[in-house]
Amino acid sequence: MQSQAVVTAPPGATVPTDVVIETRNLSKIYRDFWGRQKVRALKALDLEIRRGEIFGLLGPNGSGKTTTIKLLLGLLFPTSGQALVFGKDASEVTKNERIGYLPEETYLYRFLNAEETLDFYGRLFDMPAAMRRQRAARLIEDVGLGWAKRRQLKEYSKGMARRIGLAQALINDPELIVLDEPTTGLDPIGCREMKDLILNLRAQGKTVLMCSHLLADVQDVCDRIAILHQGDLKELGRVDSLLKVRGETAIRASGLSEAAQQEIRDVIARHQGQLLSMDNPTTTLEELFLTIVRDSEARPGRRSASLSDGRS
């Protein structure tokens, strides 16, 4: 993948409010052959993802995040509730024209080469031949596989397979990109490029829904996140807001002597120091995540206290 310039949304820019993904009371119960309940994978999930944002789904294994993605893509059918994508039911095929999906692992046909793969998926979008050729050539270059485009995918390394997987997800120039563990299998440079690319997609006005175990990645790119645990929504909100530590204030200053640090505000003013920021300190996403999981396990079925703070 070639490095791309990170384009971030301008500070203070208003995020468009039209909803791309909406779930209403979305529940999923897995049953056995005889119809008996096996697992309650998702419990009454209410969620809205708006156009132009990068939304992260977090949760430990078995928390319901992959189930949520599969329900949104129509790979699973809800037991109850509704999943809407672009205002259409998730089982509606036509919604897929505006979606790109990168699965958790590269589930592609290993006997095709990169060109054939993109040509095949282009055909599935009913694209004319010229457009398929043009997009395939550009995407192969964008993901840095020009040198290996004639090789069968079975000869690809995991990182190369992720790249061609990403290319197939973008073949239709989608408005919504669903990324399941996008940085899995990528080396640090590949991870950085992937994150840059995700930010670049947002800059182009696209909506990104991703789930990942790599919390640092999520923290780096997501505007908002939802944390699921055992099928329950435990936390939902903007990343910067969620990571703020309430009840504490952190002051960051420069050019101050040791003495000046004793009386913060007055001393800063008295000594003509420059106040750079005064805010609540933030924790790491990893710390937040572990706190929520521990809290959820200690008090099952109860929603995280921070959700009621109105931070979303």
């Binding site: 897995y30 119809g35 599969k70 893509l73 129509g74 790979l75 699973l76 059918f77 095929v93 036509t94 897929n96 024209e97 979606i99 999906y101 699965p103 692992e105 589930y107 592609l108 046909y109 006997f111 095709l112 095949f120 998926y121 055909r123 599935l124 979008f125 009913d126 197939q168 239709n172 669903v178």
Partner: protein, 608 residues
């Protein structure tokens, strides 16, 4: 050639006959409607159990309308893309291995089949068509059944169904892809086997002066010139007797079902004989069949003849030295169909001897051409001797002498193109056996390679059915289970008629339990079983399973009926009428099976 299952003309078969039989189209529509209603009721009952009656009805409605929308919005480009993928997948799965196996079959035939046997053409064609059919069907069965489950298992299907791809496109793409693969294999096998057969059959013989001796013309010959006779040299395990005219030209006698033309070539004062390629070895006769009725020993009209005790009721028999007769009624005969001025009548009569008689001598019979409008007007063709298991050929001139008068067949005996041929057995206590296809007029000789292609088309039709059923099963079953279900459908399809007979109680000896009781008690098949509780329970269970057999036999395609290899093998043209009926029958199964496959895939969660 035995043709057990005979079909009426296409239009009559499709829309129904004048006698009020239900046409295949109406029967199909009724069956499809009944199946749809039964499926909807069953789905609703199941859905009610799961979700309640209202939601179940709503879901059924959504699935049906969704499937209809899917079918209406099917994109040819997407279907083609998926079909191409299926072809590539087939190649990756080494489907071409089938061709390697076929080469082994060819080598076995070339090395181990004695070309000197009576009818090598029949052996080659029989084996090759059987192996072609087996290999193509086996590959189609496996490929179609395991592909989609494999995609679901390794999750490659995720990248398909998250694109704007409809269930109909996935189903049709798979079917078309695997049909394309099967078609390619079938075409290659067909070309290879055609080349093989023509090459194996092609031969000539040497004929020199030393092989010939000059004799007087035979009695009854048109010319009194001397003829040269003798035998050709041995080639491919046989030789031909030759009678050449005084120019040194002629046609050999038949051996191994063929003849050769002999041409004398004079060069530098010397005469050599050139023997042409074999003729009549591989043929495709186009027959005109008549309708067969009988007269019993008292001379009364009847639909069937005497049963001589054969379990196989295909042929009926007429008793010798009685008024019993078999009467073939030919319709729509036209003078222009016989431009040579002769009607060629071919017959293959079976003989049932109640005493041995002269076993090396055929049983005598008599044939008579009769005007069906006025049975008193007839012309005797004379006495013939029935040759069992060989085709007896008679040439009937259109103009002939009848008791001193010049008769024209179409003027005096068949003015409306309708002609009866009455056949009797002349020897007391001996019987002639016959079925409708045992006598026919030869309309013309068709092209063998065209007939061969038609035979492969019949295999193709079977392959389409197997592929469609395989893909349908693969939409809701795992790969191995889908393959087994497809195999069961194929095997069951070869026993549809038997299942129907078991269901309707026509099978002699009864169902499985009745047969078992008869075996244990040593009861003959026709006798009535002794009444007991065990027997009653057994017969009841047979009736229950018989009902299931009837339903199953209505749902399965009759794979046996699609077979036409015996036409090719026995040298008869496969009628276009038959192929048209087979095509429509296949379509009649493919359409609902595709629809069922679309519905099943649509309601399936591809993820777990």
């Amino acid at each position: 050639m035995d043709i057990e299952k005979q079909f009426p003309p296409f239009k009559e078969w499709l829309l129904g006959g004048e006698a009020g039989e239900l046409g295949a189209l109406w029967a199909w529509l009724l069956g499809a409607c009944a199946l749809l209603v039964a499926a909807m009721v069953a789905s609703w009952v199941f859905g009610t159990f799961m979700h309640g009656p209202g939601k179940a009805g709503d879901k059924i409605f959504k699935v049906l309308t969704g499937t209809l929308v899917d079918l209406l919005h099917t994109s040819p480009r997407r279907v083609f893309a998926l079909a191409r993928l299926a072809v590539k997948e087939s190649i990756r799965k080494q489907a071409v291995v089938g061709l390697a196996v076929f080469v082994v079959v060819l080598l076995r035939l070339a090395w181990f089949v004695d070309p000197g046997r009576t009818d090598p053409t029949r052996v080659y064609l029989d084996e090759l068509l059987w192996w072609t059919s087996l290999l193509v069907l086996a590959l189609s069965l496996l490929l179609s059944a395991i592909s989609l489950p494999a995609d679901i298992q390794n999750k490659t299907i995720f990248t398909i169904v998250t694109k704007p791809v409809r269930s109909s496109e996935i189903v049709l793409g798979r079917i078309l892809g695997f049909v394309a693969t099967g078609t390619f294999l079938l075409a290659v096998m067909g070309l290879m086997s055609f080349w093989f057969v023509t090459r194996m059959l092609d031969h000539t013989h040497d004929l020199t002066h030393d092989d010939l001796s000059t004799t007087a013309a035979k009695e009854g010959a048109e010319s009194d010139k001397l003829v040269r006779g003798g035998f050709t040299e041995m080639a491919r395990g046989h030789m031909h007797e030759v009678d050449l005219d005084d120019e040194g030209n002629g046609v050999t006698k038949k051996a191994q079902s063929h003849v050769h033309r002999v041409t004398a070539v004079k060069k530098d004062g010397r005469v050599t004989y050139e023997i042409g390629p074999p003729e009549g070895e591989w043929v495709a006769r186009v027959p005109i069949y008549g309708k067969l009725t009988f007269r019993d020993r008292g001379g009364n009209p009847t639909e069937v003849g005497t049963n001589v005790g054969n379990e196989w009721l295909y042929r009926s028999y007429i008793e010798g030295a009685s008024k019993a007769a078999a009467i073939w009624t030919f319709s729509d005969l036209r003078r222009e169909d016989f431009p040579d001025g002769n009607l060629i009548l071919e017959l293959n009569i079976r003989v049932f001897r109640t005493y041995k008689g002269r076993i090396d001598h055929g049983v005598a019979g008599r044939m008579r051409l009769v005007n069906p409008k006025d049975p008193a007007v007839y012309h005797d063709l004379g006495i013939f001797f029935a040759k069992e298991y060989t085709l007896d050929r008679h040439e009937i001139p259109l103009q002939f002498d009848h008791e001193g008068n010049k008769w024209d067949l179409f003027r005096d005996l068949a003015p409306d193109g309708e002609l009866n041929i009455e056949l009797r057995c002349l020897e007391g206590s001996q019987y002639f056996g016959m079925a409708k296809p045992d006598m026919y007029f030869l309309k013309r000789e068709g092209l063998p390679w065209v007939n061969y292609a038609k035979g492969h088309f019949s295999i193709w039709l079977r392959m389409v059915l197997v592929t469609t059923f395989g893909v349908m099963f693969s939409t809701f079953l795992s790969g191995p289970v889908a393959a087994l279900a497809n195999l069961a459908t194929l095997i069951g399809g070869f026993f549809v008629e038997m299942m129907m007979r078991l269901g309707t109680g026509e099978e002699i000896g009864g169902g499985a339990i009745e047969s078992f009781i008869r075996m244990v008690q040593h009861d003959p098949m026709q006798s009535k079983l002794e009444s007991s509780i065990a027997t009653s329970v057994g017969l009841f269970l047979d009736k229950v399973t018989g009902g299931i057999f009837i339903v199953v036999s209505r749902l399965l395609p009759d794979f046996e009926a699609f077979g036409t290899s015996h036409f090719v093998r026995d040298g008869y043209d496969i009628p276009a009428n038959l192929l048209a009926i087979h095509m429509v029958m296949v379509l009649g199964f493919v359409l609902p099976v595709v629809l069922i496959a679309c519905v099943l895939f649509k309601v399936r969660e591809v993820a777990k």
